[in-house]
Structure formats: C-alpha cells, structure tokens
C-alpha cells in the first residue's frame, strides 16, 4: 500500500483517478493549484487506486494523503 501525498500546500484543482483505476509509476493522479501554478502529483509506484482522499477545491497541506494505491 502506497500513499501518494501532496508535495506542497495548495488547493486540489483536478483529481485524475478514481478507485479501481490502474496507475503506472510516474502517472499524474492529482493536479494541485498552488502559488498560481499547476502542480502535478504523480504516483511513485504503479498499482490499483484503492482510495481517493483528495477533493477538488479542497485545501491540502504538504504531506497530506491524496490517493492510496495498492501494489
């Protein structure tokens, strides 16, 4: 089980995956909006999306879990 976390504080702009999706290593799963920039967050490992905790429009702090992936 791998937790994909926010690399920096910001707003969740787009959630690109839903539970059950297969993701590959390096694939973008969420795009944050912070400091007026698009911040793509990618998966460190491939696997199946188990849980999506990020909500579009919500604030996340650095280190908050966005998506949980099962290997």
């Amino acid at each position: 089980m791998t937790e994909i976390t926010a690399s920096m504080a910001g707003n969740v702009w787009k959630v690109l995956v839903k539970p059950g999706d297969t993701v590959e290593e390096g694939q973008d799963v969420v795009i944050l909006e912070s400091m007026k920039m698009e911040i793509p967050i990618s998966a460190d490992f491939g696997g199946i999306v188990k849980e999506v905790r990020a909500e579009e429009g919500g604030f996340v702090n650095e280190g908050d879990v966005l998506v949980v992936v099962e290997d």
């Binding site: 690399s7 920096m8 504080a9 400091m35 007026k36």
Partner: protein, 509 residues
C-alpha cells in the same frame, strides 16, 4: 632470507590488509578492497604512498587501517586517504589519525585536491587518549578540512559507515558521493538511539544513503555501486581546477545532443503550465557533459555543472515540473552551497529562471524560509565569477532577486520572448488591486472585468517594455541561446571583480 626479500615480503603482507574473513565479508556486501578502490580511482598504477608500515609492530593492524597516498586522476595529482574496513572495521587509532593529518598537510602544501574514501566504524575506544582529544587528535582533521574549504577541492566517497565524529568528514567536503545500501552517516547508531532516546529505527531509515541524498541533503550523489561512485568522483574532478588560484580545465567543445523539437517548441506560453527544465538544459550544454549535484534533493531547483563549448558552467535552474518551481527552504539551501562551490573554484554561473517566487504559508515560515532565502541571496550576490541570468518564463517576486536578477550584478540579464518579470503574476496582482471592486460588481460582469484587467497588466509587464526600459540587457531567440551564452562566457572570462573589503560577512544562516 636476504634483506630485500624480507622487505618485499613484508610490504606484500601489509598490502593485503586484514584477515581473509573480513575480505570475504566485504565481498558479500558488494564492497571492494581499499586497494582495488584506489586502482579504480587513479589513471594507472602511479601511486606514492606514505607510512605503509604505520603500527607495523602491532602485528594485526596493517597500515593502521588507512591508506594515504598521491595518485593521478585525469592526468592531475590528487591526495587521498582511504579507510581499510578489513582492518578493525576501518576504525581510527592514533597512527590512523596522524596519517590522515599528514596527507591533508601534503595536499595543502602541494595545493591539490583532497579525496576521502570513507569506510570506517569510528574511533578505537582503546586508543582514545592518543587519538581523540589532543592537538593532533581527530578534531584536527575537521579543522584542516574547514581551513582547506574553497582552497582545494575536497571530495568524499562514502562506501560504508561514517559514524559519530567521523560523519563530519563528509559534512566538510564539497561533495559527498554515497553508495546505495552500504553507505551511511549518523551521529548515533540505531542501537544508541534506542538506548539514549528510546527511538526504534533502522540504519537505512535513519542514516542510509538514499535518505541523505533525498531528505537531509547531506549526500549529493547516490551511486548504485562502488564502481559508479568512483567513476562519479573522477568525472566530478574534471570540472575543477587543482585549487582556487587556477581556472577550471576547458575540454574539447562538443555539440549538444540532438532533439526533434527545438527550444522554442518545448517552452509553453502558458506561464502556469509545467515543463521539464532538463529539456532546456540539455539543449544548451555539450552532449554528455552534465554532472548533477543533489539530483534527488529539493528537486524544484536543479543544480549541476555542464560544459558549453568545452567550458564548465555551473547551472542553477528552477524546475517548473516539481512543486511549480517555487523556492523552498531546502532549495534555497541547495542553491546557496552550489553557488559557493562554483564561485570558490572559478566556475562561471548560469541562472535559468522560471520561478513563481518563494513558498508562503505557515509551514515554511516556521522552517525559517526568510533566513534560508537570505542565505541564497547572499551567496548569489557575493559570487564574483562571471554570472549570466536568463529569464526563461516567469520571474516573480523575490524569485527574480534570488535567481540573479538585474540588481545583483549579473554580467548580463537576458530574457527569452516568453519571459515575464513582475512582483506577482497577473492573476494574483488583479486580485490584490481590485479585490473590493470585483466584489462590488454584479456576478455576470466579474469574469470580463478580471480578464480585461489581467490583459492590461500583461501589457504593462510586457518583456519588450522592460527591454525598452533597459531593465534587461537583451531578448534572445531560444534557439540562439546556447550560442549567445557561449560568446558571453568567453567575453566575461577575464572578469575580476572582488566583492568588497572586509574580514567576512555575517552569514544570514
């Protein structure tokens, strides 16, 4: 036996290091014998070694666990100290320390780089009075390192542990190359951490190579194995002069790697969309000339040395692909040390800007982003080597300052046609100035008003307007950028501009 036979036999025995079982144990861990490491480091078998017979009479401590010698890397002399982990786990006795001090003093007298090949369990407690506290105790090694810093290059390759006091050898080097899985640095071992503070943690997690290269930033280069680590040390040295009084060696000029897409095609016009800054760097530098420092640490900023037409150039570049290229505490720290490194050894600097500013918010304020940013701005201001800054896309707020903007005496501040220089971007600026006005407007009129004001703002910060005001020194076609930089670095090569008279600054750290 004749005396010459006795001598050669004794030399052979000492050169074999510790007992076979320790050689086997090292081999199992993928570790090479110290003398094989030296063979990989040096050009050929040319080697001058001192105190091979140190502690010979002890019988079981060949060379007292350290090889100290001079050899050639890329045709130039370097001084080396290399721990032998087959001898009491590479621990330090009194003669070990004396040998290290002497090779350091030799490096100082010859004004040549000092290389530390570290693989040591730390002090031999049994020898502590002789090797720990005194004038020529281990503390002196670190004192010497501090004294040599910026005078001759100091390189550390870490093959095994570097524990407690020993962990300061890497800390005072210009660069630390660590072998994944085997290398570690820590002040207190996991066992000690459990005893003293009650923490249960693995060595890899607390002081492993990957952790240090990714999170603490104490490590600079993570190598897959010992061969790769030593090759990295050899490559690193090719960019550096023997000491601060010389210029870095210029190699044969090579064309950059060829790409399908030109620079103009890869830079997105939308300031908020990410792109990979490495794609730009690769189009500016000679093919296969890139040596990245702290590649895994604070990746929102790229630091590395490449060659432009054979001339080494230190590159500091924002990476919009990671954290939007925003400057953080760690990226400021990373850039400050890299700038110090290049400036110390006369390597010109190139700043590639695409930066929305310094990060804001509680987390970074508590981590002291103001003083870390000040540290970067101070290092960048003081650097007296040729400096060129290029505004690739946005340069907002203090980001412009930190990346050698016009006020910080770059020899030139150039812009690409995609550049945008401002206190803040159009979105934030319109919001800051017209927030009340926007709130008063009827809902259906807001979007049009905001877009009109943003457009007005964009026109106000138009890059041709800034060139007209002579804020920037030129606008360059991205496809001509390499050529422009090459000419400019050649022109600026005779630059001599000491910063100011004083003992030293009060560093804002």
């Amino acid at each position: 036996m004749t005396f010459d036979k006795v001598l050669s036999e004794r030399i052979e025995r000492v050169k074999q290091g510790g007992a076979p079982k320790y050689h086997e144990k090292n081999a199992e861990q993928g570790k090479l014998f110290v003398r094989d490491r030296l063979r990989l480091l040096f050009d050929d078998d040319f080697e001058v070694e001192d105190a091979l017979f140190a502690n010979y009479t002890a019988g079981d401590l060949p060379a007292d666990g350290v090889v100290t010698c001079l050899g050639k890397v890329d045709g130039r002399i370097v001084a080396v100290m290399a721990n032998d982990s087959t001898v009491k786990a590479g621990s330090w006795g009194s003669r070990t320390v004396e040998k290290i001090l002497r090779i350091q003093e030799t490096a100082e007298k010859l004004n040549v780089p000092m290389i530390y090949l570290v693989d040591s369990a730390g002090a031999r407690i049994t020898d502590q009075i002789q090797m720990f506290p005194g004038r020529r105790g281990a503390g002196r090694i670190f004192y010497n390192q501090v004294k040599f810093s910026g005078r001759m290059p100091q390189v550390c390759v870490l093959f095994g542990p570097s524990a407690a006091g020993g962990a300061y050898i890497p800390a005072f080097c210009d660069i630390v190359i660590m072998v994944d899985k085997n290398a570690s640095m820590y002040l207190g071992s996991p066992r000690m951490a459990e005893m003293v503070i009650g923490e249960k943690v693995s060595l890899e997690e607390m002081g492993g190579a990957r952790m240090h290269c990714q999170i603490s930033g104490v490590g600079d280069v993570l190598a897959k194995n010992e061969q790769e680590a030593i090759a990295a040390a050899r490559q690193y040295l090719t960019y550096f002069p023997q000491n601060y009084s010389e210029k870095p060696p210029v190699k044969e000029a090579l064309a950059p790697k060829e790409f399908e897409k030109s620079l103009a095609e890869i830079i997105p016009a939308n300031q908020n969309a990410p792109f990979n800054m490495h794609d730009l760097i690769n189009r500016l530098i000679d093919e296969n000339s890139w040596f990245e420092i702290k590649k895994l640490f604070a990746q929102e900023l790229i630091t590395g040395i490449g060659r432009i037409d054979g001339q080494p150039v230190g590159i500091i570049a924002n990476q919009p692909k990671v954290k939007g290229g925003v400057l953080f505490v760690d990226s400021a720290d990373k850039a400050a040390k890299f700038i110090n490194l290049c400036d110390a050894f006369n390597i010109p600097l190139l700043f590639l800007m695409d930066v929305p500013g310094f990060m804001i918010g509680t987390k970074v304020e508590r981590a002291g982003i103001i003083r870390h940013g000040a540290k970067l701005i101070s290092a960048m201001s003081e650097a007296s080597v040729p400096k060129i800054s290029v505004v690739v896309r946005k340069a907002y707020g203090a980001g412009l300052y930190a990346m050698a903007g016009p006020a910080f005496e770059p020899d030139a501040c150039l812009a690409l046609p995609t550049a945008s220089i401002a206190v803040m971007g159009p979105e934030a600026a319109v919001n800051a100035v017209y927030a009340n006005k926007i709130a008063e407007l009827p809902e259906e009129e807001r979007a049009a008003f905001i877009e009109a004001k943003r457009e007005e703002y964009r026109e106000d910060i138009d890059i041709y307007k800034l060139a007209s005001e002579m804020i920037i020194d030129g606008i360059v076609d991205p496809n001509d950028l390499r050529n422009e930089l090459s000419k400019r670095f050649e022109v600026y090569s005779s630059k001599y501009a000491p910063f100011t008279d004083r003992k030293h600054p009060v560093y804002p750290v």
